[in-house]
């Protein structure tokens, strides 16, 4: 039995493509379609088309929640990058036999169950927990202060959850960076800061862009962290989606919110794709990005 190369390629591509089209692409498109369907009283999706959901999205609470989601995600990304760059630098400059050990130390939290990590912080932040005792000892908080159920706690646990996501791609880029360039720049009279900002950061910009994406995108969709350590004043869009599904059983409304979130995720992705097209080497000068 002989097949042409085209037929063979198509046949071999079929299993994974059919699976992903059926269970990833079609469902994603459904999110947009069902936003225009009416809801039924039993939590199902009704027949016909309506703009009911779109009108429902004008709920005056939503702009605040969307703004908070974006703000918290951006802050998480900024904090993670700020911490990850020095860590990656340290790891890349460490003696080779230390490097794989350090990578392992960073990877373990990344593999640890997501719920366990959140739970560990719930214990830390608990009114009877260690962090509170410690802060009381330093007279940094009052006995009545509650560390949990606010935006600060959500931000802290988000950073905790995504920091290793940020360190790994930046480390991968830093490891390939030629540190001789930094010494050369300083020999030529650049200050250490100037060498870092103009040579080092552009040199690892690809790793930083990847890191920013892998932190920002999941942060936008966070739902468990604000649910567990946050309160009503720190809800994010993910919480609203879950409430529409599990509390009100209003699938079309949940679809409308999910469609919004999908758009919010696609925009930064396209932006990064465009940026990477323009500077394929990742070594473009910082001025060139303006």
């Amino acid at each position: 039995m002989t097949w042409g190369p085209r037929t063979k390629e198509t046949l071999l591509s079929l299993p994974s493509m059919v699976w992903l089209i059926g269970l990833f692409l079609v469902p994603t498109l459904l999110v947009f379609a069902i936003s225009f369907r009416p809801s039924t009283p039993f939590g199902g999706v009704g027949e016909g088309w309506t703009l009911e959901t779109i009108r429902g999205l004008a709920n005056p609470n939503y702009p605040t929640i969307i703004w908070r989601t974006v703000w918290i995600s951006l802050s998480t990304t900024a904090i993670c990058l700020t911490l990850a760059v020095p860590c990656a630098y340290f790891m890349a400059r460490a003696p080779v036999r230390w490097r794989s050990f350090l990578v392992m130390l960073v990877i373990i939290p990344f593999w640890t169950n997501f719920l366990i990590r959140i739970f560990a912080w719930k214990i830390m932040l608990h009114p009877e927990g260690l962090l509170k005792k410690f802060l009381l000892m330093l007279h940094l908080v009052e006995p009545r202060t509650i560390l949990m159920y606010n935006e600060g706690a959500v931000l802290l646990v988000l950073v905790y959850s995504y920091l290793s996501f940020a360190i790994l791609p930046i480390y991968a880029a830093t490891e390939k960076f030629d540190f001789g360039l930094l010494e050369a720049a300083q020999d030529l009279g650049a200050t250490r800061l100037r060498a870092l900002v103009q040579i080092f950061l552009p040199g690892i910009s690809r790793g930083m862009i990847t890191a920013a994406l892998v932190v920002f995108i999941p942060a936008l969709g966070s739902y468990v962290i604000p649910e567990i350590v946050g309160g009503p004043s720190s809800e994010m869009i993910g919480n609203k989606i879950a409430q529409r599904v599990f509390v009100d059983r209003n699938l079309p409304h949940a679809s409308g919110l999910s469609a919004l979130l999908t758009l919010a995720v696609v925009v930064p992705m396209l932006l990064v794709l465009m940026l990477q097209r323009r500077s394929p080497s990742g070594l473009s000068k910082p001025e060139g990005r303006a």
């Binding site: 591509s13 169950n113 990590r117 009877e128 468990v224 949940a254 995720v265």
Partner: protein, 258 residues
């Protein structure tokens, strides 16, 4: 050149930040007292309580069934996808690559939501089967990416040599390709297995009555207070994680020395 201390200090602070909560959790799983700030003496009572809880065993069974089935399916589909993506460069493969890559960057809640809508609009009963379908969907991409990375340094001249010597496609696949690529496929499978055991968000959206997995059980317990039993359960899961990370690192080392 004088080295700055900022990288060292940041690294140390980050490691403390990473491990302090985990260490406290493990220590507390042996704490007689239920409050983390008070040491009531060494005790295994939380572990005894954990083992006596039938709902945990039930959830563990579900998790094991789903993770094994999803791992096997995604290893087959992911490896095949990686092979085709590496072998051919066509417009079809560009589309194929986008399909494999995009699930990696989509937030869990969107994947869970979209699959729930699919199952709801097709009137499919939520349960172990829907969880299995969802897990395979996100595992395929991870397996494909791991295997694809290994294929970058795969020497295809071996296959051409075998073809010249008259081997047929089946002999090449089972006699050369799979044995040589086995560490990569296993590493991908290990990742898929861990991801499946750990997944909460997607599972929560597509699970039905009687299909609680371990993470769903943990979440339900967490929502209703801080039972110290979770400390014991988390400690056991941490041990499993350490073993899995160690195994996958070993697979990595074997590859670099081979």
């Amino acid at each position: 050149m004088k080295r700055s201390r900022i990288p060292l200090v940041t690294m140390m602070l980050c490691l403390v930040f990473f491990y302090l909560p985990i260490v406290i959790l493990v220590v507390n799983s042996f704490n007689q007292s239920r409050f983390s700030s008070r040491w009531g003496g060494f005790s295994l009572k939380w572990y005894e309580k954990l083992f006596a809880d039938r709902s945990i065993w039930f959830a563990l069974k579900n998790t094991a069934i789903i993770a094994s089935a999803a791992t096997v399916t995604s290893m087959v589909l992911g490896t095949l996808a990686a092979f085709v993506l590496h072998r051919y460069a066509s417009r079809l493969q560009k589309l194929h690559y986008t399909l494999v890559y995009t699930p990696l960057v989509v937030p869990d809640i969107l994947m869970g939501m979209s699959l729930l809508l699919l199952f709801a609009s097709m009137n499919i009963q939520l349960g172990l089967t829907t969880i299995y379908l969802a897990h395979v969907t996100f595992c395929i991409s991870y397996v494909a990416m791991v295997v694809l990375a290994r294929l970058q340094d795969f020497d295809f001249s071996v296959i051409e040599a075998a073809q010249d010597l008259g081997a047929n496609a089946w002999q090449i696949a089972t006699g050369i390709f799979l044995p040589l690529l086995a560490p990569g496929i296993l590493a991908g499978g290990l990742l898929a297995f861990t991801l499946s055991i750990d997944d909460f968000v997607i599972t929560f959206f597509v699970s039905g009555p009687g299909s609680s997995t371990l993470p769903i059980r943990i979440y339900t317990m967490m929502k209703h207070g801080n039972p110290p039993v979770i400390n014991a359960l988390s400690t056991l899961l941490l041990v499993v994680t350490f073993v899995l990370v160690w195994l996958s690192q070993k697979l990595n080392v074997e590859r670099s020395t081979a």
